[in-house]
């Protein structure tokens, strides 16, 4: 198993915990987007490599603990 596969994961937002602080969009620009109200929009698909690393940084940066990286679907 390559290191990339170990790192792979899917970014999940708990929308009830999220208050649109926006840290995730700063530390994971390009992975986490914003909707018109400033709430994060995350990719539905599995992430790997650099995108997965940034997703983990976004999860760690959230002051509301509203983001998690869960095991990939595939």
């Amino acid at each position: 198993v390559s290191r990339g596969a170990e790192d792979a994961g899917r970014l999940v937002v708990d929308p009830a915990a999220c208050t649109a602080v926006g840290m995730c969009m700063h530390v994971a620009a390009g992975v986490v987007g914003s909707d018109g109200w400033g709430f994060p929009v995350v990719p539905a698909e599995d992430l790997s490599g650099d995108a997965a690393r940034r997703a983990r940084r976004a999860a760690a940066a959230c002051p509301r603990h509203a983001l998690r990286v869960v095991p990939p679907r595939s």
Binding site: D14, P15, A16, C18, A20, D35, G36, W37, F39, A44
Partner: protein, 435 residues
Amino acid sequence: VTAAPTTDRAGGRPWGALLPEPVELPLAEIGRPRRAQTLEEHLATYGPRPLHGGRDSDVVIDRLAAAGLTGRGGGHFPAARKWQAVRDTTAATGRLPLVVGNAAEGEPAIAKDAALLSLRPHLVLDGLAVAAETLDATECVLWLHDDAGPLWRRVENALDERADAGLVERPVRLVAAPARYLSGEATAVVRALSGGPALPELRDLPAAFDGVHGRPTLVQNTETLARVAVLARSAHRPGPSTSLVTVVADGRRVVAEVPDTSTVATALEATGALGAVPAAILLGGYGGQWLPWSTAHRLPIGPAALRAAGHSLGAGLLAVLPAGACGVAETAALVRYLAASGARQCGPCLFGLDALAATTTDLARGAGGRTATRRLTAWAAEIAGRGACNHPDGVIRMLRSALVTFADDVAAHAAGRPCAAAGRPPLLPTGDGAS
């Protein structure tokens, strides 16, 4: 095996019918429909309830699977799979399972669960008892809106009757649900019974795997439980395949049991609701679909056939939009109600539904401008799938179906031409939960 009558004495309907005849329940309030069936009448109608548990558990679950029973709260998840998941999780974890009857019927237009609980409470209690024995749960909960006074009394009376008759059953605890639209959402039920607020939440696993206080929990709708009560008795007599529908037409509301072979048109005829040719039907619930009458009238009612046709019976609403009414204005009223009925927890739903409500309302008034439809479509795509529960997704489903079904009106209103009907009060109730 005790001989049981083959027809329902009350109405001469085939054995196993849930409701003897269509029942009218005023839209403003449920009121007090005719008296409840007594335990004695119930047993005379349906026959004695077989006991389950132990090795018999497989028999019940197999029968639910063979009948294709799906959850009638709106999601239509296969009941047998839920029951099996509770059993498997109980075996794997050793945690005590719990059975929850969900009677918190949130849709203001729908009253099928209220009709069942007020007319045939023993069917629902039988369903709870069968579930508890099959899954070896030591207790059951019945989750019922705190403002549903008449229903509480009928259920309490029915429980007293069963105790007086010496029925040995797992205890049923009546628990008050806040009288809000989302109180009956499955994760809200689990969260409330675990000591939290009765609001939906994001959960990794369904309640069958990880429910109330982490226990494997069966949450099953009132009608589903009544159907379990019939199926549990049906070893030698398969009951009729039917569905309960709530028909709202011309200011009246009628709950009726219709064969799954019915079409939307014959179901409306059976409730006396089919007068002039309607313009459209709202199918399933407020989070369902608007369909033009030309499409809707010949659709099958049975949940499986309807699903195969790309639609859902949802919680069984059939609401008639008469010719001459404004579907866009009606949709705007529903979106406003649904936006106000959210749990106000999730940003995309809170802000997104408010934006959809305001723009749909402007559109109906002819004040939305030419970009209104484009904005609605873009917001809908942006919000979809981003709530902790499916509430926003239902609103979007209904709104998208309206933009298609009422496309001509939408175009006229977007061009600044409101219709004469846009100022009329809405046909469908958008009652208390909207405050």
